[in-house]
Amino acid sequence: MFPDLFKVRQVRRETDDTFTLELGPVNGRGPFTFAAGQFNMLYVRGIGEVPISISGDPGQPGSLVHTTRAVGAVTNAMRALKKGDMIGVRGPFGIGWPVQEAEGRDVVVVAGGIGLAPLRPAICQLLARRDRVGKLVLLYGTRTPADILFRKELEAWRARLDFEVYVTVDRATAGWHGNVGVVTKLIPKAPFDPGRTLAMVCGPEIMMRFTALELEKRGVARQRIYLSMERNMKCGIGLCGHCQFGPGFICKDGPVYRYDAVKGLVSLREV
């Protein structure tokens, strides 16, 4: 599988160490269709290739958007890209969020840190078909107020009358008047009916583990809790084995899994 070339339209700084890359197709390639929750392998020439979740709106396939943290050689090189630079894209890969299954249910989206990025496409889709879901709730936890991702969009979502958005930070700074504490603290009081709720969770594994336990405690059925797992994806098609997770491969069988299918794996020391 060779990467398709895409042109950088914009590199937008989100927080101190995260950025959003907006790409457009070249060579007459058509719109890039994808499912919410899928990821691409992004290749920076001469440096390397990394898996990055798509953070754009599936309803706007003309623009391919990824949000990530600058943490290694490839992502630091990505952050340094300029408008008009080229980048290679392979994908989309994996199984995404169960947006169809959410219809007719309350939906609670629980995001931790950069985990909001892979959930953003699902939120865009749910908002686009807002009349088909019951209550829609976003619980977002992050490190500090300065680390809040998509801040303007969160403010716009919170201003809507049909979307309940709650944000909490682990460490407050002076001037922060919002919630302080871990994201699971928001679950017991969040306005959803657990008996008819579907949950989508993405963040560090330890956060997802505690979140799933708290959702279960609230009464959300295990089979209606979905988690997005992350490993070192390489080939994207389940051949190389880098992202093996139990008997399967995250790039092919995930990254989104039903909690009851991975419950035994998420608490193992090594998988």
């Binding site: 943290r69 682990d170 008047h177 919630n179 302080v180 871990v182 699971t184 963040g203 560090p204 956060m207």
Partner: protein, 153 residues
């Protein structure tokens, strides 16, 4: 005449409490309000009240000379604020300040301590409920210390 009994009975912290014990609590309870920015209590003061929160938001803060007041936790509707009243020498360890207009039921801790001493069943019941909250907050604090959203997590 309206009493605080139905409000206390419905509050998540006290749900399921024996009506006999609820009556005792009502005898020590009063309605209170805090405007935005008002201190509920300050570090070092005597802990002679605890609060059953009905509406609003309270930040538990610590003051540091260089960084000012830093919020370390927030509690709101359905929560309970304060457990230093249970543990000698009964002094608050942090500040608590309303970040939104807040309504609560204040329970006179001196009254409660006396009642708990004379009725150990009530004391044990309250201790069990507070122990759960202390355990939840300890877990949350440990998790916060892990810095799970940091680069190395």
């Amino acid at each position: 005449m309206h009493t605080l009994e139905p409000i206390l009975a419905e509050h998540p912290f006290l749900k399921g409490l024996d009506p006999r014990h609820l009556d005792v609590l009502v005898g020590c309870a009063s309605n209170v309000r805090f405007d935005e920015g008002a201190f509920v209590f300050r570090q070092g003061e005597e802990a002679n009240t605890f609060y059953i929160l009905r509406e609003g938001k309270i930040a538990v803060e610590i003051f540091t000379p260089h960084r000012g007041a830093i919020s370390i936790d927030t509690v709101g509707e359905g929560d309970v604020l304060g457990w230093s009243w249970l543990i000698p020498p009964y002094h608050w360890h942090f500040d608590a300040r309303a970040v939104e207009p807040t309504r609560a039921i204040a329970l006179d801790a001196r009254c409660m301590r006396t009642k708990c001493e004379s009725d150990h069943e009530l004391g044990y019941e309250l201790m069990k409920r507070f122990a759960q909250i202390i355990e939840q907050r300890l877990d949350a604090t440990r998790w916060q210390l892990l810095d799970v959203y940091g680069v190395r997590s």
